[in-house]
């Protein structure tokens, strides 16, 4: 068996390597772009998911819940955002399936208004009590006959 001289092997392999087409820009450039797009999509998913209630938890969003159903719901949120739906459309989808209960922050209408109005009413009532009490304390004593 004839052995191929080492110099010849080196020359041929160098020539073959030089003949290889240079990697196209398109095959390299999208990597960071797609990573950026993924991270934007992840952030948008997290923003929507943190407004939706986990159906099997107590007061947790599907973003914070480790439950299987929450993970599956997050995947649905992500898929819908990827498909071009707006965050409001995604939330509307979940409301259509679960009702407004699915929103961690209820919409301010009907009986829900109490949730928003009660704290304000309590603060106003508290201030009124303080004002009345301070007036009473600072009132000059009535002259004794």
């Amino acid at each position: 068996m004839t052995r191929v001289p080492g110099v010849l092997v080196f020359v041929v392999s160098t020539a073959l390597a030089a003949a290889q087409p240079a990697p196209r820009q398109g095959s390299v450039a999208p990597a960071p772009q797609s990573a950026f797009a993924d991270s934007v999509l992840d952030a948008r998913t997290a923003a929507v998911a943190s407004q939706l209630r986990c159906p099997v938890c107590q007061g947790l969003s599907i973003q914070d819940s480790p439950s299987e159903l929450s993970q599956q719901m997050r995947a649905v949120v992500k898929d819908q955002l990827r498909a071009g739906k707006t965050p409001d459309e995604v939330k509307a989808y979940f409301i259509s399936k679960y009702g407004e209960w699915i929103l961690l922050e209820p919409k301010p209408h009907g009986f829900n208004i109490l949730v928003y109005a009660m704290p304000v009413a309590l603060v106003v009532a508290g201030l009124a009590v303080i004002v009345v009490a301070v007036r009473k304390w600072t009132r000059p004593p009535s002259p004794t006959p």
Binding site: L69, Q72, G99, W101
Partner: protein, 187 residues
Amino acid sequence: MNWKRAGIAAACVVPVILVFGYGLTKDPKEIPSPLPGHEASPFALEVFAPGQPPLNRAPGDTVRLADLKGQVVVLNFWASWCLSCRDEHQILSETARSYAGKPVHFLGVLYDDEADNGTKWIAQMGGQSYPSVMDPGALTAINYGLYGVPETYFLDTNGRIAYKATGPVNERLIRHFVDSLMAAGAK
């Protein structure tokens, strides 16, 4: 008695009592579903547990809701890890068998589980008369607003959700909805 003070105290306390009283009239565990009265989401799901003749379907068959138009559909979400599903299994299976030949289609949907586990569970429970399908990614479960298992949906002959039962169902409830929906569909 200082009527002015009493009036202010009452004005503060009565609304709070009314709000809490209203809260007590509601069951905190009951979450109203917006789905009854609305068209059911279409699905196309693959059979993994065939069921028994005459209600059986071949494993690998695709069950499409669109193909079930004109029939009452009883859609039961279950899982092998679900203890409450054991309570209703035999009732569902026997009731489904009693409706064989009538325009009613019972279908089990395995939620968040493996087909192998589902098949073993059915065997342990003594079989299931109607077929069960897989729900990859729980997409159908979410489309039906599922909170947990078991949950059972009764669909009318026009493909609308008539009623959603949370927790194990009993024979009286199944027959009530199936019979009334069949009667409404026959009109």
